[in-house]
């Protein structure tokens, strides 16, 4: 017998109707997230859900958590401000591949190395959906889109390899084609005490390629567990991550077995130490008194 969970998935679901196309992978991500949040059981008002701009960045509005649907590419800096202002909050960041690896690409490495206890979910669909079908940073080379009518000439970003190389302590990949798997990956990511990243292959039904749809995912996905991958093995994780774009591996690529104290905890220690030297507020300026 287990104790009843204080919150259920439906408690995190808001009344707003998603703007997504029927069949969009993001519906599955949203379901997975509801389940993960319910499993963790923090009340919605203690959850801050930060996003940028894009189809997937609409996701905070579909939850009952505090949401911040900010500007394109800046969800990570905003989320770090939220977490540092109130470390007790559960902070989740979400967005698409364009938001995270194109316009906001400069922030990812720094969010990783700062290592706040936040979770970053990227809904990777290899295309710009909201602006109707342009080339994205994870689009495969040669892809023909409205902005690459003759085929793209550049290699895609490999989000998994990027995050591993930046030194992220938790890197995973999932797909809504495996709902229970995705929900538990998100839950695991949130529970990891540091910066965690889940790349979610979330198909775009309107502008995505046929070989990137959920049906294909179902047939193609291979769990890392079935490959007997040890998530503590960082080098093997990088080796497996190289298959991004060809293989669809799901599960945890890497989990730091000895997670360091996250940034906000280090700050608490510093604040406790320094607070002993505080002056009364009215006398702060007197530090400049010339005697």
């Amino acid at each position: 017998m287990t104790a009843p969970e204080p919150f259920q998935a439906k408690d995190y679901k808001s009344d707003l109707k998603p703007i997504w196309c029927p069949g969009c992978g993001d519906f599955g991500v949203l379901q997975g997230l509801y389940r993960a949040l319910a499993a963790i059981g923090r009340p919605p008002h203690e959850v801050a859900f930060i996003s940028g701009i894009g189809c997937s960045s609409r996701i905070p509005g579909y939850t009952t958590a505090y949401g911040f649907n900010s500007v394109h590419g800046r969800s990570l800096p905003i989320a770090q401000g939220v977490k540092l202002a109130n470390p007790e909050l559960l902070v989740v960041v979400a967005g698409g591949d364009g938001d995270g690896f194109s316009i906001g690409g400069g922030h990812v490495a720094h969010a990783v190395r700062r290592n706040l206890n936040i979770t970053y979910l990227v809904m990777d669909n290899q295309v710009y959906g909201l602006t109707k079908g342009q080339l994205s940073p994870t689009s495969p080379k040669g892809l023909q889109t409205v902005t690459s009518p003759l085929g793209s000439l550049e290699e895609p970003v490999n989000p998994l390899l990027f995050l591993l190389a930046y030194g992220a302590g938790f890197v995973a990949q999932g797909t809504p084609a495996d709902m229970p798997g995705l929900a538990s990956l998100i839950e695991e990511a949130i529970r990891y005490p540091g910066f965690s990243f889940v790349n979610i292959q979330s198909p775009c039904v309107t502008f995505g390629e046929d070989d990137q749809q959920l049906k294909v995912h179902k047939a193609k996905m291979k769990s890392l567990a079935s490959l007997k991958h040890d998530p503590a093995d960082q080098l093997r994780a990088m080796d497996l991550a190289r298959a991004y774009g060809t293989e669809l591996y799901t599960g945890v690529f890497y989990r730091n077995p000895n997670p360091p104290l996250p940034y906000e905890e280090l700050i608490k220690i510093r604040q406790a130490e320094e607070s002993k030297k505080a002056r009364p507020r009215h006398n702060i300026i007197d530090a400049y008194l010339q005697k």
Partner: protein, 602 residues
């Protein structure tokens, strides 16, 4: 008193003037320590109770290159760095000339130079100024003889200045002890000997016309010595700042540097971010999470922050952004003051935005304006720009102690328990201000967003709601224009002559105003601390009597003048007096320019 004794000792044979205001300049190569000497002088004088101000100027080299400082000492409040120098110390000519108009001489200047660099070159005469007295002093030689090495050169210079002009000899000696006391007996001793050698030399070579500064009015230990950036940081801590996100940029960086030493003591955090955008992003995030938050930057950073400033406006999140202006556009003049970011502060970013812009005019009021900025940001739930500039930010002033008990600190309006039962984050209220919740507050859950929203915070693209929300965001700031305390007025209401000035230029205008009054001109002065929105009524009332006026600004365009023209009917006789940064105004020239307007056709 040391200076009184000195006055008697050196002036028995020569006429002796006692002044209550003395402006000194020093220039040399990077390693000469002229700025350090200026700081010693400033610190000594302020510890004795003088009012004082110091500005420094460098080439933009990282190390070496030319450096200079100006120190103004007074028995009264110092309004600005002053015009022509009373005393100039040049350690070499090449570096002195690089500062041009920043170190102007007059016929009354006493020019002291290092003997070994030779007499003043032709260039000086070519400028049309022949200083009254030129003193060639073997500074290096005196240093070597007294201190045994070349290292204590600045102490000889301090000795000379103290000896000749009666400046804070005891304070300087105390300062040397503080500075070198724990760096080995030898170093302190060497500097003390060098100081004595300088004083001795001055006594042995009296000036043709002795000039000493009067004793201070203030009591010892009654002055704060601080630059504008530090004052801003201290005020932010006083106002309760809990988060600062930023990126280093000259000349604002010291705000972040000071806060990152101090903020932890008060439970806050400084995050040095990867770029300017992340700096403001993190700050907006912290504000969303309910904390008083700030960022600081200079021109190039203002450009990068524009998008998130717009986000803070539409999401109605309090934020203080300090823009320490420097010469622009682009990299421009990174180490020099200019007042050319007013348009950027008021207008940058797309969409219909009304964003309050405040400007301090000196180090002292940087405190008040910073506290005010936090109050306005929190009360009205809006980003507020503080427009400082390089001069205010990096000049040091000895000012009277600030009585912080007279300041009120405002907090954002929280929803009541009843309001949380059915909460609307952006409720359309009479004042336009809606109670604001934050993550962690039960029942206050909402979606903050850059997208237009309805009262609950849900996204909308409807024109009717968009218009209502725009109206709300503008209306809530209306009361600001009635804030008479954000304007400083001098002179008769009926005066036909007028100055208007803001920021660091205001200090020059305050002195120009006093000079013009003394010269018998019926003049008044308006110094706005609130630059945007324009308080039409305040300016309109001020201009009503004005037939000849100058809006004085250190920028090519004269941006405030243009904004005034945009918002109200500025009388034809009111002109813009604007010139590019790093060309500081002098009080006397402003009076001449104002008087000159009489000849202009109306």
């Amino acid at each position: 008193m040391t200076h009184a004794q000195l006055g008697l000792a050196c002036c028995s044979a020569a006429p002796h003037i006692m002044v209550d205001d003395l402006i000194l300049g020093m220039a040399g190569a990077g390693g000469d320590g002229v700025v350090s000497a200026g700081e010693s002088l400033l610190s000594a004088a302020s510890s004795e109770g003088y009012h004082a101000m110091m500005t420094k100027s460098f080439g933009s080299q990282i190390r070496g290159g030319e450096s200079s400082c100006r120190v103004r000492l007074s028995t009264k409040k110092v309004l600005n760095p002053g015009g022509a120098l009373d005393v100039m110390v040049a350690l070499n000519w090449e570096d002195f000339f690089k500062f041009g108009a920043e170190l102007p001489l007059s016929v009354d200047t006493v020019l002291i130079h290092e003997e070994k660099v030779g007499p003043p070159p032709e260039t000086l005469a070519a400028r049309g100024v022949v200083p009254r007295e030129v003193l060639s002093v073997p500074i290096s030689e005196l240093t070597k003889k007294s201190a045994g090495s070349d290292k204590a050169k600045t102490s000889v210079v301090l000795g000379l200045l103290s000896g000749w002009f009666g400046i804070a000899r005891d304070g300087i000696a105390r300062g040397l002890k503080k500075k070198f006391g724990n760096k080995g007996e030898g170093l302190l001793e060497a500097n003390e000997k060098a100081l004595a050698a300088g004083i001795e030399y001055a006594q042995a070579h009296p000036l043709a016309q002795a000039r000493t500064i009067a004793p201070p009015n203030g009591t010892p230990g009654s002055k704060l010595l601080c630059d504008g950036n530090d004052m801003t940081a201290a005020a932010a801590l006083f106002a309760g700042v809990q988060f600062f996100g930023g990126y280093p940029i000259t000349p604002s960086t010291e705000i972040m540097q000071t806060l990152t030493r101090e903020i932890w003591k008060y439970g806050g955090t400084v995050l040095q971010c990867e770029d300017e955008i992340a700096g403001i992003g993190a700050s907006v995030g912290a504000s969303f999470a309910g904390k008083k938050s700030m960022t600081a930057t200079s021109g190039p950073g203002m450009d990068l922050k524009a998008e998130i400033l717009g986000l803070a406006t539409i999401a109605e999140l309090p934020l203080v952004l300090v823009d320490v202006q420097r010469g622009g556009p682009s990299t421009g003049l990174p180490t020099k003051p200019e007042q050319s970011d007013l348009f950027a502060a008021a207008f940058s970013g797309h969409g219909d935005v009304l964003r309050p812009v405040l400007a301090p005019t000196d180090v002292e009021d940087s405190f008040r304006i910073t506290v005010e900025a936090f109050n306005i940001a929190e009360h009205y739930q809006t980003p507020v720009i503080i427009l400082s500039d390089q001069e205010i930010a990096q000049r040091k002033e000895a000012v009277d102690r600030i009585d912080t008990t007279k300041f009120e600190i405002l907090e954002r309006l929280k929803p009541s328990a009843k309001e949380l039962e059915s909460y609307s984050r952006f409720k359309l209220t009479e004042s336009g201000i809606s109670p604001i919740s934050h993550p962690g507050m039960k029942g206050g859950n909402y979606l903050g967003a850059g997208i237009e929203h309805n009262e609950k915070g849900d996204p909308t693209s409807g024109g009717v709601m968009h218009a209502k929300m725009n109206q709300k965001r503008f209306k809530k700031l209306d009361p600001l224009k009635q804030r008479a305390d954000l304007f400083e007025l001098h002179g008769n209401a009926t005066a036909p002559f007028a100055f208007v000035a803001w920021g660091s230029t205001a200090g020059v205008c305050r002195e120009a105003y006093a000079l013009a009054k003394k010269a018998g001109l019926d003049v008044k002065l308006l110094v706005p601390y609130l630059l945007w929105p324009i308080a039409e009524q305040v300016f309109g009332d001020f201009f009503a009597s004005v037939r000849h006026g100058l809006v004085v600004e250190l920028s090519h365009q004269g941006q405030l003048y243009r904004m005034l023209r945009m918002q109200l009917d500025v009388p034809r006789g009111v002109r813009s007096l604007a010139r590019s940064g790093a060309n500081p105004f002098q009080p006397a020239e402003l009076v001449t320019r104002l008087e000159g307007l009489k000849e202009m056709p109306q």
